[in-house]
């Protein structure tokens, strides 16, 4: 169909359009890599560096530099910059994964030491500094109760606020509320504890109980719940609302019967993530629940313990078994938080289709 102006095979290409770019030869990168590692090792033995991380860092830097210089000589500045950025990004990624994965690995390996039957069935009552035993039963109970109480209040409250913002709110009031939701999102958790201390414990004269801790957690949960369920409500198509109105259904029924059910999976996901976040909060509990070595099943009277607080106190004790307990508690806490996250993700995934 088309008469081809066939370029003769193998003819020297003129490249007047400059389509070709010089490329680093294939052997260049391995050579640069080997040289970088070699130089780093040399420096490692010559100067007093004593950490493997430093060799890694130095090799990476040398590799990036060597590659960039070679590339800018052969391929030109733009390719060199591209290569440099690529190396740096991958390097940043690998480098960041080292400590993050190390945290997880350490928690799992160290946590395994006391991750036993005793740990989950005993409290710290009567466990003296030299005792090897003791467990986190009281702390786990405390955490579960405090989280449950906090969710019971924070979730409906947060969802109602988000309904107001999405379905009714407009103008200055809703803008103000929205602004302060953001401010609350950034509220340091210890401030929530201080506030409950200053208001609930001092001014109202209430005692330190698990419930006081829940109150502090509520403050931290609310903004997360509001924000996530607000996002979800916004995603509900307007046609659904209008279809419902058109059938003569009142607005409040429409919201409860049409809008919320549609957004529910998303809202539940957000709630799970909010719970997961406050489950690990330590600072506000420090000021509000006091901690308790014994088992106290009643969040409304008497001091209670909680897992994060337990980790904090045990970690600061000098004995090695106390630190072991801290690691096991950390492992427990991570498992709880991860489970909540996985459930949240599962719900989100299943309903997304």
């Amino acid at each position: 169909m088309s008469t081809l102006t066939a370029a003769p095979e193998g003819a020297p290409v003129t490249d007047k359009l400059r389509l070709h770019g010089n490329k680093l030869p294939a052997f260049a990168l391995p050579v640069i890599a080997v040289v970088s590692v070699g130089v780093s090792l040399l420096l490692y033995f010559a100067t007093p560096m004593d950490s493997e991380i430093q060799i890694l860092l130095l090799s990476l830097l040398l590799f990036a530099a060597g590659q960039t210089i070679a590339s800018s000589l052969i391929e030109g500045g733009r390719r060199a910059r591209d290569r440099f950025a690529t190396t740096l990004l991958i390097g940043a990624f690998l480098l960041a994964m080292v400590p993050l994965v190390a945290v997880l690995v350490t928690v799992i390996s160290k946590g395994a030491a006391r991750f036993d039957y005793d740990f989950f069935t005993h409290s710290m009552r009567g466990v003296s500094a030299r005792d090897h035993g003791g467990g986190a039963y009281a702390a786990i109970i405390g955490t579960l109760e405090q989280i449950a109480l906090a969710s019971l209040i924070a979730v409906p409250f947060g969802v109602l606020v988000s309904i107001y913002l999405v379905e009714y709110g407009r103008g200055r009031i809703s803008r103000t509320i929205s602004f302060f939701v953001d401010v609350l999102t950034g509220l340091p958790s210890i401030i929530a504890g201080l506030f409950i201390y200053a208001f609930y414990l001092i001014v109202l004269g209430a005692p330190q109980t698990g419930f006081a801790g829940s109150l502090a957690l509520i403050i931290l949960m609310i903004p997360t719940v509001v924000r996530s369920s607000e996002e979800m409500l916004k995603l509900v198509p307007n046609e659904l609302r209008e279809a419902s109105f058109a059938l003569g259904v009142e607005r409040w029924r429409t919201i409860l019967k049409v809008v919320i059910p549609t957004a529910l999976p998303g809202i539940v996901t957000g709630v799970m993530l909010a719970i997961a976040r406050v489950a690990g909060e330590t600072a506000p509990l420090l000021l509000t629940i006091f901690g308790n070595d014994s088992i106290n099943n009643d969040p409304f009277s008497g001091h209670q313990s909680a897992l994060p607080l337990y980790i904090f106190t045990e970690a600061q004790k000098p004995q090695s078994w106390a630190v072991d307990r801290a690691w096991s508690a950390a492992l427990t806490l991570i498992i709880i938080v991860m489970l909540l996250n996985l459930i949240a993700r599962f719900i989100a995934r299943r309903t997304k289709v």
């Binding site: 169909m1 400059r18 389509l19 733009r78």
Partner: protein
């Protein structure tokens, strides 16, 4: 300036799926060549292989040759970045960079190529915007966001951005399909004007547009969905629209397709 394009034995794959098979096509320099055909027949796919833009899509691959003035785009040592510098592209939806002003949008490509001199950039901005028939409309607000223009103006801004780097070839994938008739007319006028300096390939669903703006027309089609698209007929536009050789071409053009 301006360059001829020879497509030889082109097959395009998305992963394992063969989207286009066996395309041979010679596109004349300083001509407007239109790609027409039913949806899904691979017009955009072929167009994108002309500046290796398909490589942006993960899994896409190409067999065959695309010669730009005799030089294979897919030859060893060819850098796609250099290719795109010579073969510019305008997309279906106007896509000026939303964070940039009109001025910055036009000079974006030049800056990539290392042009930093203010005076030079200023001249190129005016030239390109004039070239895109947009200068008079925007000369007083070059510092305003490009996204603040009307759709048609945005598309002309995108054309200005593409021609600012002085390519040889301009590829346009349904450049008017998101625009109103007036803006469409403005773009068509522009294409007629740009033809004197660029080789232009345009994909369009609009038969009138193809017959209005193009010198040659390539008709693509496919037997059935899931089958690869093929080039059915390629000829002078007047020929295609008055006396096509292929029955299928005639059916499509007269609206009897499918």
């Amino acid at each position: 300036m301006a360059t001829r394009i020879d497509i030889q034995g082109l097959n395009v794959f998305y992963g394992k799926f063969k989207a286009v098979a066996g395309v041979n096509l010679a596109i004349e320099p300083k001509n407007v060549t239109a790609f027409i055909g039913p949806s899904g027949c691979g017009k955009s796919t072929v167009l994108r292989t002309l500046n290796r833009m398909h490589e942006v899509i993960p899994g896409a691959s190409v067999e065959g040759k695309v010669l730009l003035d005799g030089e294979d785009l897919y030859g060893a040592g060819v850098d796609p970045v250099n290719v795109r510098r010579q073969v510019g592209m305008v997309f279906q939806r106007p896509n000026p960079f939303p964070t940039m002003s009109i001025y910055e949008n036009v000079v974006a490509g030049l800056k990539l190529n290392g042009t930093r001199k203010k005076s030079l950039l200023d001249t190129r901005v005016e030239e390109s915007l004039r070239g895109a028939n947009l200068w008079e409309e925007v000369k007083d607000r070059l510092g305003r966001p490009g996204a603040g223009l009307s759709g048609g103006q945005q598309q002309r801004l995108c054309i200005a951005r593409a021609i600012a780097v002085e390519p040889q070839v301009l590829l346009m994938d349904e450049p008017c399909s998101a625009l109103d008739p007036i803006s469409t007319l403005a773009i068509e006028d522009l294409i007629a004007k740009l033809k004197s300096s660029y080789t232009i390939v345009i994909v369009t669903h609009n038969m009138q547009q193809a017959s209005r703006v193009s010198d040659a027309t390539a008709f693509f089609s496919l037997e059935a969905t899931g089958q690869p698209g093929k080039l059915i007929e390629y000829d002078k536009t007047t020929k295609i629209f008055t006396s096509p050789t292929e029955k299928r071409t005639e059916d499509y053009i007269s609206g009897r397709f499918g």
